[in-house]
């Protein structure tokens, strides 16, 4: 009976010891998990910065590549146009067009233009007249303005020279006449 009690007590001790060990290990595991989560969060939090920097670096490189490509294309187009415009074949075509097509076109178009001008000369005359009149009017207006200023300047100079008291009453040149 006493042996059974002793065995029972030892079994309880083992049980309690095991439970304590499990509790310690569990607590340690919990703390370890908490720390691991904190570290992971920190890592995740800091992760976008190097990714953004990489992306920005890639964007700059892409932009530079695009600019380089555009410059190359432009240079190629200019060189192509330059070479094409001086290519003997192109010059021959242009010469042919100028020698054959253009005289015919001029011969056809010019009489029509002259006929139109002869038929409706008033429009051309009006344009020329308006242009000439506008220029002449502008010049004359400037001359008149300058002459008016000159008249006033001469009057002031003469007025100062003469010190005529009457001029203060009525400005020189301004006269009143009855009907």
């Amino acid at each position: 009976m006493a042996g059974k009690d002793r065995q029972g007590a030892r079994g309880q001790e083992v049980l309690f010891a095991s439970a304590g060990a499990i509790a310690v290990v569990g607590g340690a595991a919990y703390r370890l998990g908490q720390q691991a989560l904190a570290i992971a969060a920190d890592v995740v939090e800091r992760a976008p910065e190097p990714i953004g920097a990489t992306a920005a670096r890639l964007a700059r490189r892409g932009h530079a590549e695009v600019e380089t490509a555009a410059a190359k294309v432009q240079s190629f187009a200019e060189q192509f146009a330059h070479d094409f415009a001086r290519h003997p074949a192109f010059i021959n075509v242009v010469t042919e067009v100028v020698d054959t097509v253009l005289p015919g076109a001029i011969d056809t178009a010019l009489p029509a233009v002259f006929d139109r001008l002869v038929a409706e000369p008033e429009g051309v005359r009006e344009v020329v007249r308006a242009q000439s009149t506008g220029i002449a009017e502008e010049v004359l207006a400037q001359v008149r303005s300058a002459a008016g200023a000159g008249d006033a300047a001469v009057d002031r100079a003469v007025g100062r020279w003469r010190h005529h008291g009457d001029r203060a009453v009525r400005p020189k040149g301004e006269l009143a006449f009855g009907p």
Binding site: A147, G150, V154, R162, K172, L175, F177, G178, P179
Partner: protein, 151 residues
């Protein structure tokens, strides 16, 4: 003037010497061109009727010198009497009027242009317009005219 009669005074501004001088210069240029054209026409006419003008260069010059004042006199008289202003005055927007502010007649216009000769003596008569209260030159005093702005 009776107080019962309303008299509306008309204020006019007489033109200064600069505007008048420019107008006169324009008119002289036009008259010279007209005289030149007239001389050329007379010469062509003389050639057409086989008039021998060889060796008469001095006579041609003398004719031109005499023709210019005549042309200018005719030019000014006709324009003043007809419209009260010459083309030069039209350009400067001034006009000739008598002391009643009316367009001068033919006789007054003729007197005025002939009086240019008086004013032209050392140009004193022209310069007098700068000192005169009404901007009247000697020829304006003689012909009793004024030069006013076309306001």
């Amino acid at each position: 003037v009776s107080p019962a009669v309303a008299v509306e005074a008309v204020a006019v501004r007489t033109a200064g010497v600069v505007s008048r001088g420019i107008a006169l210069t324009i008119d002289l240029v036009i008259a010279t061109i007209l005289t030149t054209l007239g001389s050329a026409f007379v010469r062509l006419f003389g050639d057409a009727i086989d008039f021998d003008a060889s060796g008469s260069h001095s006579i041609a010059v003398l004719t031109f010198v005499l023709a210019l004042p005549f042309t200018f006199t005719l030019y000014c008289t006709v324009f003043w009497a007809l419209i009260g202003r010459t083309p030069g005055m039209v350009a400067m927007r001034i006009r000739v009027v008598d002391t009643r502010l009316r367009r001068p007649g033919l006789l007054r216009s003729l007197v005025r242009v002939l009086s240019y000769g008086v004013s032209a003596i050392l140009f004193i008569g022209f310069a007098w317009a700068a000192f005169d209260r009404r901007h009247q030159a000697f020829h304006d005093k003689i012909a009793r005219t004024l030069v006013v702005y076309d306001d």
